[in-house]
Subunit: 290 residues, 2 copies
């Protein structure tokens, strides 16, 4: 497994690959969990060793953290990450040696309007600017044929798809479903920062989403009724937002008539967790399951 | 000479080129003049036919025009442009068939802070956002080894160089000196929109810049003295700005001690012209010309 610590070295390697080789990239902030591993496995499945290279990037990107967020406390475990990457068949890992090598200046920014304003964007105003900017840099360096993202960061995925289309970035964006712990908690590097009491309490998040899905399956379509009781259900978690939005535009929805996203962010102590589920109305006239 | 009207077709062609071929691009808004031709010739010189392809892009990019600017009146002459491109040895011309093919959505933007605020950015607040965004799109589609720009748009060039480095865009940025008419007026597509009286008056612009350069050569270093008399000298032109800034940072300069840029924008009727000159202090201890 190759390791690159400077963008110039990564770029030289990329340019040296035979034209027939395809490249799949999985951009991460490291501290890999089973969710990341499904992304690496999907990358490997789509680009098998005889066809090309799978690149993992590990970079705790400072510009997507707000001034009072957990940049310094974000969990890191490079040795563990490299072990997992090796087991998943990764060919090359890019770990920038210092944030400055990715940010020769902090002057150039990539933003995606509209999609970045609500949900996580409301309480993390520069977050998606940081995400888009670092992804654009990585995209230009790696020129991937495939870039794989997780659906836990649903809003990020929608923004990345928009940016990808608008800027004519290379290749194809692929997403993979949320991977959950046995009790339903969505895998997240930040779960490692929960103390045992917080970890127990956090199961309220997937339980609440499951309850919303049950209400929807039972025929409920109204926002108020679907999201009712969130405060109590998520206690003692401190809600940042619980939202129902159109799954494509991310605009708020009052009555679900097209695929809709239930998304939430909840703090347990100083750990902020996000999760989501998509509600898909049955197609009119299509056979219904009983 | 190949012609492409849709980004998909351009991308397919780019991907079909042999890996050994180099690509030089000259991004323009068309209505080519002798200044543009020097850019095409430089592109061709650096990438001769046996080594690769020269691509000219012609697109009057709507997002770099403000609401009260001259988007609709911007001069166009596709037939003339294609003739000049052919004469300069261009291999491929990209003329998007409609602005929408370059902007599937107008949500994703590329900005460069700091450098975009002063000079033209002060009176054209979204101008450089539009420039950077379209250039980023073109860069991703064309993946040039060389991109050639004119130095008349000095601030644009500084911003493009910053964006190029920050986003790890492909290849190298090359610039070419301003080309002037016999009377000194900088070549510009917008000159075609001057009436005869305005055209005569506009020569005041290069004359004023020449006067500033003379003052500098005579030892003057103070901003006030260098720029003195601009209002009278440029009359009846209506000054947008006349500025003295550091040639690298574009920050205002009171006393020239490093290369400095004199830049200005002046309206003649509803035609806004820009021009500039660089003042380079002699290196201490170096032999002086007499």
């Amino acid at each position: 497994m190759l390791r690159f610590h400077h963008p110039d070295a990564l770029r030289v390697w990329r340019a040296s690959l035979d034209r027939s080789r395809r490249v799949a990239v999985v951009p991460t902030m490291g501290y890999l969990h089973a969710g990341h591993v499904t992304l690496l496995e999907e990358a490997r499945r789509r680009v098998p060793p005889e066809q090309g290279e799978v690149v993992l990037t590990i970079f705790v990107n400072p510009t997507q953290f707000g001034p009072n967020e957990d940049l310094d406390r974000y969990p890191r475990d490079l040795e563990g990450d490299l072990r997992k990457a090796g087991a998943a068949g990764v060919d090359a890992v890019f770990v920038p040696e210092h944030p400055d090598v990715m940010y020769p200046a902090r002057w150039t920014w990539v933003t995606v309007d509209a999609l970045s304003r609500g949900l996580c964007g409301a309480s993390r105003p520069d977050h998606f600017r940081g995400v888009c900017t670092i992804l654009c840099k990585l995209w230009n360096l790696i020129q991937p044929d495939i870039a794989v993202f997780g659906e836990k960061d649903y809003q990020q995925l929608a923004i990345v798809r928009r940016m990808h289309a608008d800027l004519f970035l290379s290749g194809e964006v692929v997403s993979m479903p949320i991977v959950r712990e046995a009790d339903g908690l969505a895998m997240s590097s930040r779960n490692a920062r929960l103390d045992p009491a917080q970890r127990s309490a956090a199961v309220a998040v997937p339980r609440f989403l499951a309850e919303v899905s049950r209400r929807f399956a039972a025929g409920e379509r109204a926002r108020e009724a679907l999201l009712a009781g969130a405060d109590a259900a998520l206690h003692p978690g401190r809600i940042d937002y619980v939202e129902l939005v159109d799954a494509a535009s991310l605009a708020p929805v009052d009555l679900v008539s097209a695929p809709a996203l239930v998304a939430l962010a909840v703090h347990f102590g100083d750990v902020r967790l996000i999760d989501n589920t998509v509600l898909v109305p049955p197609v009119a006239g299509a056979p219904q399951s009983v």
